[in-house]
Symmetry: C2
Subunit: 260 residues, 2 copies
Amino acid sequence: MKITSTANARVKEIVRMRDRRARIQTGLFLVEGFREIGRAIDHGIDIEELWVCPSMFLGSNETTLIERANATVLEATEPVFKKMAYRDRPEGLLAVCRQFDTSLDHLHVGAQRLVLVVESIEKPGNLGTMIRTATAASADAVIVADQTTDVFNPNVVRSSIGTLFTTPIAVASSDEAIAWLRVNGIAMAAATPEGDTDLWDAKLEAIVVGSEQYGLSERMLEAAEVKVRIPMPGSEEIDSLNAAQSASILLFEAVRQRMR
Amino acid sequence: MKITSTANARVKEIVRMRDRRARIQTGLFLVEGFREIGRAIDHGIDIEELWVCPSMFLGSNETTLIERANATVLEATEPVFKKMAYRDRPEGLLAVCRQFDTSLDHLHVGAQRLVLVVESIEKPGNLGTMIRTATAASADAVIVADQTTDVFNPNVVRSSIGTLFTTPIAVASSDEAIAWLRVNGIAMAAATPEGDTDLWDAKLEAIVVGSEQYGLSERMLEAAEVKVRIPMPGSEEIDSLNAAQSASILLFEAVRQRMR
């Protein structure tokens, strides 16, 4: 079946899925792009529908991907596809997927004993980038505490380039996150400009990063075993980093500590 | 004078300044926000016009800022200001500034002997974030090689939160950048997944980072004294980092080496 009208009801439903309310109502979310859909398939994400626009394909492996998706395939014309796509340069592949379990219960602490905890992060691009960096650092999990940005936001999926599917993710309140870390004996290192320990001297297991605007909540700071600071030699000019940059610096300091 | 019409010719000119062509033609660029304009004033950026919308002010220090700007002040109604503003949440302050010197000649190598060189970075948000992180790391300069994103792009200014004015910036071809580094005796450390030296073992003076999509050019890689890699324990899942994350990790490894 080829959809040729941008007024098609299903097309409109997919456009609405950019809004959180529609994602909550349907329990679905969107994954766009070859790499991202590939990662979703590899990690057992349930794909309900796969929209394709063959004239926009960039490579020659799309056919294999489509077969592997094991989903209802719908074809769209370019104008229809562009209406649904949220990327600047669509690749002709858009999957409608079922949201997966993001409860703390399904997390396991692995060999790295490394968890990234982010609290009240607002910008989807920042959240997705942090998930991507945590994956590169081989973190056991990412806990999204006091969620303000829905992890199924298309821009989280995009900036995570699909690592949202590969690294276990949990969404919880800050209190639940603290309780889970305690039960699992994972020490919390809270990143704050008021920290008393330089990152190079801190035991980094659960790295806890807050929003750029408000920092970490009092209860996160109080619960943390260590308050970590990133010394900034340029602090006369700028005394804070973007939250995603702080997370990257801390995650790869944890990598250094484990490898050296 | 209070501008009340969104059809005002000057208002339209300011909206056009979001486009690179208009910035080149006029030699001007836009700076929005209290912090950003404050940094521009502190660092002697020439402000031609300051647009204000007092009903949108967030604080009480705007009057002092306006006096310090030493510029022609124009008042706009909220609808007019919102048309010109490029932020989601405008603060009622928008400066039209004269572009400053971005030639290599005005750079000086300081005590840190730390320079960030970025080649062919496309995304304004990434470029601005990298300038911000370089400033926090107290880098002597940022060299934008083979510029694809204009450093005067409003989103570079925004994501740099005005550190574009505090850390010396040069725009040059990659060949010019290499020549300048050689003349100044600054060793180049090129970041590449094919690097043979872990960042923790590399002398980090000029940190050279390429675009995420294409990596560094052959001539940058050949000119570098050392090819640096960031080991990624999670490389089975993801084998690259966002360019801004790589730059952050390398810059703060340079900070570690200098402080420890």
